[in-house]
């Protein structure tokens, strides 16, 4: 039953991806500038420019261009970057894991801290933890991320000098052998502890920057869902059984509070998939965000398309994962 549901959801991804690709393709055409000019370079003669335009198929009507793109895509070919002349698939294989690693670290911080703080705030309602968190969450949601990034860089890299200011690895560290492309994991698998620690230290500031808003959001939802759960009859039953307050909170109230929390966590992942551009640039991260930024400025349509499709696919899978998680969190939820 569940298998069929998943199969249907996977099948439904096809029209979504198709729609997104059409939209992205047409929107790319609206970017000011001439992709042929961007590819040929500033010094190209009009003849050279036309030759490039013809070679890249940019002289064709837009629907034809799109048709050609999709035709190649169905054969697994994401095309070639206009600016770097590298295969887009190849470049994505380098940039996507970097973003994935940052996203992963961010989500670990968001989930662990958000839920912990939310539970603590709810169980000590009106106490100092609760009030401190309230203040923090206003700051967390209200403060612009670029400002937060600079602040953290200033304090931890500039003044305290305890964390690296930017990049994924120190200059003297050799990247671990590529397995997943996630430096910390690859280093761990290769048993290179020093490399792993170095990669981990580089993750702290960008992940912290990206997670502050999420921690506030997840914490607030967890707090209110916990407060709601703690008023339910089953909590009184749990207390009547003589369970410790800790068991009442963590075993009886928290699992019931996780449904809205999971929804917010899923939305947070979706937001981050598109929201890392600024932070990757500030921290010289060299991930999907940096790649997208360059692609857009160079009118590199295959790059823009590739990133859009990869991000959308990731988003669709996160969504499916959240929906499947609901059934684990609440046995009353079943999909047909």
């Amino acid at each position: 039953m569940m298998g069929r549901y998943v199969a249907r959801r996977l099948f439904l991804m096809i029209p979504v991806l198709l729609g997104v690709s059409i939209l992205a393709f047409y929107v790319s055409q609206l970017l000011p500038g001439d992709p042929a000019r961007a590819a040929a370079g500033r010094l190209a003669t009009p003849e050279q420019l036309e030759a490039v335009r013809e070679r890249l198929g940019l002289d064709q009507p837009i629907p034809v261009q799109y048709g050609l793109y999709i035709g190649r895509l169905l054969q697994g070919d994401l095309g070639t970057s206009l600016s770097s002349k590298q295969e887009v698939a190849q470049e994505l294989r380098i940039f996507f894991p970097a973003t994935l690693e940052l996203l992963f670290a961010t989500m670990v911080l968001t989930v662990v801290l958000g839920i912990t703080i939310g539970v603590r705030a709810a169980t000590s309602r009106g106490g100092w933890v609760d009030r401190a968190f309230l203040g923090f969450s206003y700051l967390g949601v209200g403060m612009p991320v670029f400002f937060l990034a600079l602040l953290l860089q200033l304090v931890f890299a500039g003044w305290l000098r305890v964390l690296p200011i930017a990049g994924r690895l120190s200059l003297e560290t050799v990247p671990p052998p590529v397995l997943t492309g996630l430096y910390t994991f690859d280093a761990l698998f290769a048993g290179q502890w020093a490399t792993m620690m170095d990669a981990g230290r580089h993750l702290v500031l960008p992940a912290l920057t990206l997670s502050i808003a999420g921690i506030s959001e997840v914490g607030r939802i967890t707090r209110s869902a916990m407060l709601n759960a703690l008023e339910q009859d089953y909590v009184r039953t749990a207390r009547a059984k003589g369970l410790s307050e800790r068991a009442v909170w963590l075993r009886h109230a928290l699992p019931n509070a996780m449904l809205p929390t999971t929804t917010v966590i899923g939305l947070q992942v979706a937001f981050l998939l598109g929201g890392t551009v600024l932070i990757e640039n500030i921290f010289s991260w060299g991930g999907l965000g940096t790649y997208a930024w360059k692609g857009i400025f160079r009118l590199d349509i295959p790059v823009i398309m590739g990133i859009t499709l990869v991000s959308t696919t990731a988003y669709l899978f996160v969504n499916l994962g959240v929906d499947l998680l609901y059934t684990k969190l609440d046995p009353r939820i079943r999909y047909e």
């Binding site: 089953y234 039953t237 207390r239 003589g242």
Partner: protein
């Protein structure tokens, strides 16, 4: 505000005490306050003693009380669909009582949970143990709830309207089951209910509550045979009698229960009472003994009975 006032009752092993009252009369709060289940703050409990086998519950701190809840005092709540945790299996919810109080862990605790389900009359006990509350029928859920209340092997079981959400036939089954278990396990049973009809069949003694106070208490024979408090009389005459063939209008008590925030200075039943005297509005009536096992908190009725008996003696 005083939700509950000067409530005094006792119950022995193997005995059933029923606490009867309308919703809002304080019957649940009185029972919950004994074991620290009324959130405090906002509630404050100022009682003298609540003694369980020589142990004063009101003198215990929360940690000690939590050791008693579920082990020496078990609970069965009304509406098991909301009183059971929707995301934990029945087996888990029972076995955690065993793990907490009997110091039995893991597989053995699970096995005992299934045993308890057998004892409350569930045939497919393993299947029910692996189920979630929403997958069971109302009667099944209440049986599971009873198994949970009993799993800590309590001396006293407090059942708060355990049959209210159930069909009449299932109600009867649950009443029989609980009396059977009371006798088998030799525990004391406190049954909180608004339903005088259900209570008549199961209680040894009955305490009637009105606006946070006990107004009458006595044996079942006392209460149903010779109800003395005007409120109890009103309640009993408003129970529909299926044996009369003639259709008659159901008797009711005029008025409604008083707002606990604004109780009258004297007897809370005064505004609705048919036999009140001027004095009733000024002073709260004290419990008066009208026979060896029968007490009422009504000055005119108590005086009347004593006077009538005095005449009989002459």
């Amino acid at each position: 505000m005083h939700a509950v006032n000067g409530v005094d009752f006792d119950v022995a092993r193997g005995e059933s005490l029923a606490i009867v009252g309308e919703s809002g009369s304080g019957k649940t709060v009185a029972a919950m306050a004994l074991v620290g289940l009324v959130p405090s703050p906002p509630a404050r409990i100022r009682g003298e003693r609540a003694v369980l086998n020589g142990l004063n519950l009101l003198a215990l701190d929360e940690r000690k009380l939590s050791e008693i809840r579920g082990s020496r005092i078990g609970f069965v709540f009304q509406d098991p669909l909301s009183a059971l945790n929707p995301v934990l299996t029945i087996g888990r919810q029972i076995s955690e009582v065993i793990e907490r109080h009997l110091n039995i862990k893991g597989g053995e605790a699970k096995r005992r949970a299934v045993d308890w389900l057998v004892r409350v009359g569930i045939a497919d006990s393993q299947g029910v143990a692996d189920s979630f509350p929403h997958q069971l029928s109302g009667g099944m859920r209440q049986r599971a709830m009873i198994a949970m209340g009993l799993a800590g092997e309590p001396e006293l079981l407090i059942a708060d309207e355990p049959t209210t959400a159930l069909d009449v036939t299932v109600q009867a089954q649950i009443v029989d089951l609980m009396l059977q278990l009371r006798d088998d396990l030799g525990m004391a049973l406190v049954w909180i209910s608004h339903d005088l009809g259900v209570v008549a069949g199961l209680a040894d003694r009955v305490a009637v509550m009105y606006a946070g106070r006990i107004v009458e208490s006595g044996s079942v024979q006392d209460l149903y045979g010779r109800p003395a408090h005007p409120y109890t009389r009103g309640l009993i005459s408003s129970v529909p009698d299926l044996r009369t063939e003639r259709l008659s209008r159901l008797a009711t008590i005029p008025g409604g229960t008083p707002d606990p925030m604004a109780l009258p200075p004297g007897c809370a039943y005064f505004p609705r009472c048919g036999i009140s005297e001027r004095e009733c509005d000024a002073r709260v009536p004290v419990m008066a003994r009208i026979s060896s096992s029968h007490w009422i908190a009504c000055t005119p009725a108590a005086n009347g009975i004593v006077a009538a008996e005095g005449q009989g003696d002459e």
